[in-house]
């Protein structure tokens, strides 16, 4: 509906052009409006395993689940062809995308880890899924992927407010969600991963002393290279602990009428930001 409004001229500018339509819009450009791709603008997709619930309190079980996931499939499902596999809370286009080797999908390793955890035949668990934002599609993909190693996931789909209430209270075994795109790594990691973080439940309540220390250090450090070293280690720990399995980063697109001038889209989708955005935008009609 928003895209139609842009095409008919009812509105001048829209954010988040539907991803399913982006390809077609680029293939058939119009002189009446501009569509601009924003790399990484759709944020990151993540599967969360609750370390307070069995059997995900066992590191080997979490790692087994992580090895069974095909990140490309999950990213495709969430971002409808505009997703890229990642292992951190930043898109490859971000200066804070750090060089940390991603965990490959390895079903043999996954089964081996399940055996080591005392569950050679796998186990049954439940995923709490929000009915919106493309989340059920992602859940169906990881449900099928995890079944290959014997992890039998039952999807419990709730409307968004009910789902949000359950996630906030930590009432879930596993779940999946999408994170907004971020600018700074402190914003990208602290609130999720520090045990004092505001949305700590979104790391599955991962309690890790080194992680807490690193996140405190990163917050206090101003030297870019030192911060990069700190957050590289953060990404390594997050990947190894596998309670917050970041699987993909998505692109988005912004559209504006030809009569709108001066607007430069920002990665995190802000309409107004220092040095750009709506305050620099003007209409020629």
């Amino acid at each position: 509906m928003r895209l139609t409004a842009l095409q008919t001229g009812d509105v001048g500018l829209i954010l988040d052009v539907p991803q399913a339509r982006i390809q077609d819009l680029f293939a058939h450009p119009s002189p009446e409006y501009v569509i601009r791709l924003v790399r990484g603008g759709a944020g990151q997709g993540v599967v969360i395993l609750n370390t307070r619930h069995r059997p995900f309190d066992n590191l080997k079980v979490r790692q087994a689940a992580a090895y069974a996931l095909n990140k490309r499939e999950l990213a495709e499902a969430l971002y409808r062809g505009w997703g890229h596999p990642v292992n951190q809370n930043f898109a490859p286009s971000s200066p804070w995308y750090l060089k940390v080797k991603d965990r490959p999908m390895d079903l043999a390793r996954s089964k081996q880890l399940l055996s080591e955890a005392g569950m050679p035949g796998g186990f049954k668990t439940t995923a709490t899924v929000g009915n919106g934002y493309g989340l059920p599609a992602v859940a169906q993909v990881y449900q099928a992927e995890l079944r290959r190693v014997g992890i039998d996931v039952t999807l419990q789909v709730f409307d968004i407010p009910t789902w949000a209430k359950r996630i906030d209270s930590g009432d879930f075994d596993m779940e999946n969600t999408g994170f907004f795109a971020k600018v700074d790594p402190d914003d990208g990691y602290y609130r999720y991963l520090h045990s004092n973080g505001g949305v700590w439940q979104l790391s599955g309540f991962l309690s890790h002393a080194e992680l807490d220390r690193l996140l405190d250090e990163g917050r206090a450090e101003s030297d870019v290279e030192k911060r990069k070293a700190i957050y590289t280690r953060v990404v390594e720990i997050v990947q190894d602990q596998a309670s917050m399995v970041i699987f993909g980063s998505g692109d988005t697109a912004v559209g504006w009428r030809a009569t709108v001038h001066g607007f430069v889209p920002q990665t995190i989708g802000a309409l107004s930001y220092p040095g750009g955005g709506m305050q620099e935008t003007w209409l020629s009609k």
Partner: protein, 314 residues
């Protein structure tokens, strides 16, 4: 008659009051609130609590209800939590669109039910009767979500006669408005037609066996005149009651039909309000629909009393 009217209006107010209590309670018993719907999971609890405080959602339920009811009694249904628009204005914009659909569905229902019911009764046990009853059974049995999708597949996608979805105001394009109205009106009206056809048929059959009909025929009146002038007037009384109930059903059924055909009425508004836990919009919508349903029932009762003097005397 005035006393009768007073009693009914009093009952109507009581129903609305009870309805508001029930709706308010159920809404607040469901898990999640408007803040969860708006902010999702990636926002700190402090921020959520701040917004809940700003919206008054952290007050005791009784205080919230009293505040809402106090405003509602003054004609103020509050402000939408999501869009920050006045609820009365939102409903005022959407209600005529739903009433248009309901009215069109009633016309479809009556246009099918009256001739089909009468013909089925007059030609009892004939192929015509079987056909009419078959359609009636189909009308009440096929769910609107299934019928709507089938109609879209046939008339919009296959034959491309009518548009699949959307709404155009009559003031902008009358022909386009009519084309957009046809499929939703049939979807909603066929259920009504099914229920009414059976009522009309049984009513006409009952009246046809009465002595006054034999007298009318003996006096040499044409069969069509006997039906239209004498039989229908009496046979339609029970059908009128069903029509009143069915209009309330139509208003409820519009929720599904509006979703299927992207019809931007109060049904769609209610669904969006449920999903976003927009309490004021949902409370206002249900209250207005309940008021209309109760008023229609009252109108039917009054019409019944006018058509049958024995009811007034009773």
């Amino acid at each position: 008659m005035v006393r009768y009217l007073e009693t009914r209006v009093l009952a109507l107010l009581l129903v609305l009051l009870l309805m508001s209590v029930v709706v308010f309670s159920f809404l607040h018993l469901t898990p999640g609130d408007p803040v969860d719907a708006m902010l999702g999971v990636e926002v700190e609890q402090e921020t959520k609590q701040g917004l809940r405080h700003e919206l008054g959602l952290d007050r005791p339920l009784l205080a919230q209800y009293a505040l809402w009811m106090g405003r509602a009694l003054r004609g103020d249904l509050g402000t939408s939590i999501r869009s920050r628009q006045g609820v009365s204005a939102i409903i005022g914009e959407k209600l005529p669109i739903t009433l248009e659909l309901t009215l069109a569905a009633s016309v479809v229902g009556l246009a099918i039910a009256l001739p089909a019911g009468v013909l089925a009764a007059v030609r009892r046990s004939s192929t015509l009767d079987l056909g009419a009853m078959g359609i009636a059974l189909g009308g009440v049995s096929i769910p609107s979500f299934s019928l709507g999708v089938m109609l879209i597949l046939l008339f919009a996608l296959h034959w491309r006669i009518f548009p699949a979805i959307g709404y155009i105001p009559w003031s902008r394009d009358p022909a386009g408005a009519l084309r957009h109205l046809v499929l939703p009106a049939i979807t909603l009206g066929l259920g009504l037609a099914g229920a009414l056809t059976r009522m009309v048929r049984s009513g006409v059959l009952e009246e046809l066996g009465r002595e006054y009909v034999r007298t009318a025929r003996a006096k040499g009146l044409r069969p069509s005149r006997v039906i239209t002038r004498h039989v229908l007037r009496n046979a339609l009384l029970p059908a009128l009651t069903v029509l009143g109930v069915q209009i309330s059903v139509l208003l409820g059924g519009a929720v599904i039909t509006e979703q299927i055909f992207a019809w931007p009425g109060v049904g769609q508004l209610a669904v969006q309000a449920v999903l976003s836990r927009d309490y004021p919009v949902l409370q206002g919508t249900i209250l207005v629909i309940a008021a209309i349903a109760t008023l229609v029932q009252l109108a039917v009762d009054l019409a019944y009393a006018l058509m049958d003097p024995r009811i007034r005397l009773a």
